[in-house]
């Protein structure tokens, strides 16, 4: 999950990094309330959206008084940046700075370890820095036993021409690494990491991506994730431990399966045949009748879905349970126009017999390829 900037600052502060202290407002009313007492001008207003390019989109403004705060705040609240409507604005006092640098720790998939990246020039995306100043970038792979050592940071400070900052930089980088480890981050980036006119290190912007596999270790992240999620079907599915993924706005086929791999292959094959998938649902484990019924209910809430392809194959799946779950959902009024069922596992005949009695059109398939052929037939008939 990608955290918002103010959430990153909150974590920085918790780990004693020099974060910006600021305020977050979630509506114009809250902004008006803040404007009546705010005294720290000039101030910076920043749209809180989980994407880059905020500055270019007009989502970052400097204001000098309450009137500007309200005017520019309102303009920012009206923005939609890369598809994300602005729901929160972060405000902190403007700071004169001397130098902008780049610092991040990210989990490197290929080398299977975190890598620290530092550059004495920052403020732009790391890709741009890499193009402009490849020689100034320092990449430091981190091993589990050694972590970040003082000599690492001394080298970084010397190489970057700021040897007098070695100690302060060490504290800051150690803190960032502790945050990275303890909060299960995939990326913890401070960009820019600034040196203020007074000569202090300051985190001016933060980007943190956390590991979804570890989300249940961190209730706050779980809360932030639900707060940010706007699709009620994703939340509904999550409460049943399903994974619901919207696929295409123009799709009309829903797919339920018990594995991500199978879902990906289903989407590929359906699109190969010139049809489109609206959404998919991964059941995870346990294809009980109750869970199947709930999965069908959630999938039929997507009004675009006209056909539901249920493809559950684990070898030990009970087909009668799957069929009963579907019948139950249809009886409760949760039914798309048509069903294609791939029942494979134990008690296959019983399952086919039960689902054969459905009041809506249903076709049976023997495997994935066959299932997609049946889907095409059903739409053509």
């Amino acid at each position: 999950m990608k955290l918002l900037e103010y959430q990153a600052h909150q974590l920085f502060a918790e780990f004693h990094l020099p974060a910006r202290e600021g305020s977050v407002v979630s509506s114009m009313e809250e902004l008006e309330g803040l404007a009546s007492t705010y005294r720290c001008y000039p101030a910076v207003l920043k749209a809180q959206v989980p994407t880059g390019g905020r500055g270019k989109a007009g989502g970052v403004k400097i204001v000098n008084n309450a009137q500007e705060l309200l005017e520019k705040g309102k303009a920012i609240f009206n923005l939609t940046i890369s598809g994300y409507p602005v729901k929160q604005v972060f405000i902190y006092s403007f700071l004169e700075i001397r130098q902008e640098m780049y610092l991040s720790i990210m989990m490197n998939r290929s080398s299977k370890q975190p890598v620290l990246i530092f550059c004495a020039e920052g403020g732009m995306e790391i890709n741009e820095i890499a193009l402009k100043n490849p020689d100034k970038i320092i990449r430091l792979p981190i091993l589990p036993d050694s972590g970040i050592q003082k000599f690492h940071v001394q080298y970084i400070a010397d190489y970057s021409g700021i040897p007098e900052y070695a100690d302060r930089l060490f504290d800051l980088i150690s803190g960032l690494y502790t945050l990275f480890c303890e909060r299960n981050c995939e990326l913890a980036e401070i960009n820019p990491l600034a040196i203020s006119e007074e000569g202090n290190l300051v985190c001016l912007d933060g980007k943190i991506i956390t590991d979804d596999n570890a989300i249940h270790k961190h209730p706050l992240f779980d809360y932030w994730r639900s707060e940010a999620e706007t699709d009620p079907l994703i939340l509904d599915a999550r409460s049943w431990k399903f994974l619901y993924i919207p696929v295409s706005e123009s799709g009309n086929i829903g797919v339920i399966s018990n594995g991500s791999g199978m879902l990906m292959s289903s989407i590929d094959l359906i699109e190969q045949k010139g049809m489109k998938v609206s959404s998919v649902l991964d059941l995870g484990g346990g294809a009980t009748a109750e869970r199947i019924c709930e999965a069908v209910r959630i999938m039929t809430q997507n009004p675009k879905t006209q056909l539901l392809f249920v493809n559950i194959f684990g070898g030990i799946t009970r087909c009668d349970e799957v069929a009963q779950g579907i019948v139950e959902a249809v009886n409760r009024g949760y039914a798309p126009g048509k069903f294609v069922l791939r029942l494979e596992g134990t008690l296959k005949e019983e399952g086919v017999a039960i689902a054969g009695g459905l009041s809506v059109p249903v076709a049976f398939a023997d495997n994935l390829v066959d299932g997609v052929t049946r889907i095409k037939e059903m739409f053509e008939s």
Binding site: S110, K112, D211, N213, A214, M264, S265, D268, Q272
Partner: protein
């Protein structure tokens, strides 16, 4: 032959007293796997299906000649369990849990390397050498002994491919779930050398998917070191971008990194046969076996 597990495997089951552990111990025994011991802290002295249970891996190792361990433990406990097995000296550790934090795998990966332990998974169905032994939760009735080895990042795609193969009379030497997470204990390149030197394996199948660069690295390795024919299937060509597809590792970044097209291109350039569907894997395997 076959690789990693066979009749000589003496398996330890960590988490043997849990619901999953019990059920799959029964299933593995039914398949003929030689399970010698189980471990659940605090449950030492119990018996599960006639298998003695110990509190620690060390105690189990002292009493039995364990040479592989499989962990049926929840994702947040996987780190401790796998660490115990690695530090106690089990040479092959198989982790299946889905939802293991990346940071835990980072630590385990490097620990296993430093101890020369082969780590498989997580988010994997395990390993099966059909007709000989299985260490995993796969439904074994769809597998059959033969000459095609299969490595897969996805369980369901592997099942689909194997089910088709078995129905077409094409058997398998060893089938391994490398797992769908960001960091795998062993990836394609780590396992390919074993398959190249396995005299029972004649054709190698890789089931990859979007995300990461394991397929690209495999292509590089295949071009230089693999003489046996290789078939690859890549899932997720039409997955919506920038959205994790359930497997933590299966995500294409907005700039197209980790996309299927790159992977297929690299594999093709390395002389790998590309299957468009899991079904087509069987057709290609049949042609290559007949050659």
């Amino acid at each position: 032959m076959s690789i990693l597990i066979d009749q000589s495997t003496r398996l330890l089951v960590q988490g043997i007293t849990g619901r999953e552990g019990r059920f799959h111990t029964e299933q593995m025994l039914e398949y003929g796997t030689n399970i010698v011991a189980g471990v659940t802290p605090g449950k030492g002295g119990m018996n599960i299906q006639g298998i003695p249970v110990y509190n620690t891996v060390q105690e189990a190792m002292r009493r039995h000649e364990v040479n592989a361990s499989i962990l049926f433990v929840p994702p947040y406990h996987m780190y401790n369990g796998a660490q115990e097995a690695i530090l106690t000296g089990v040479p092959l550790v198989i982790t299946i849990a889905e939802g293991v934090p990346v940071f835990d795998m980072f630590r385990l990966y490097h620990l296993a390397r430093s101890r020369n332990v082969r780590l498989i998974g997580p988010n994997s169905f395990g390993i099966i050498s059909p007709g000989k032994s299985k260490a995993g939760f796969m439904a074994h009735r769809i597998f059959s002994p033969g000459k095609v080895a299969l490595l897969s990042r996805s369980a369901t795609n592997a099942y689909e491919a194997v089910f088709n193969m078995t129905n077409q009379g094409i058997g398998q030497s060893t089938v391994i779930g490398v797992g769908g997470d960001m960091i795998a204990g062993s990836s394609f390149v780590d396992l390919l050398p074993l398959l190249e030197s396995d005299n029972e394996t004649e054709v190698i199948v890789l089931i990859g998917e979007i995300g990461g660069n394991e397929e690209e690295l495999a292509a590089e390795y295949i071009a230089q070191h693999i003489t046996k024919p290789v078939i690859a299937f890549i899932a997720g060509k039409n997955a919506p971008p920038n959205r994790s597809m359930g497997h933590a590792g299966a995500i294409v970044s907005p700039n197209g990194e980790g996309g299927a097209a790159n992977k297929e291109k690299a594999l093709k350039a390395a002389g790998v046969h590309i299957a468009e569907t899991t079904y087509q894997i069987s057709e290609l395997a049949q042609q290559l076996l007949n050659r």
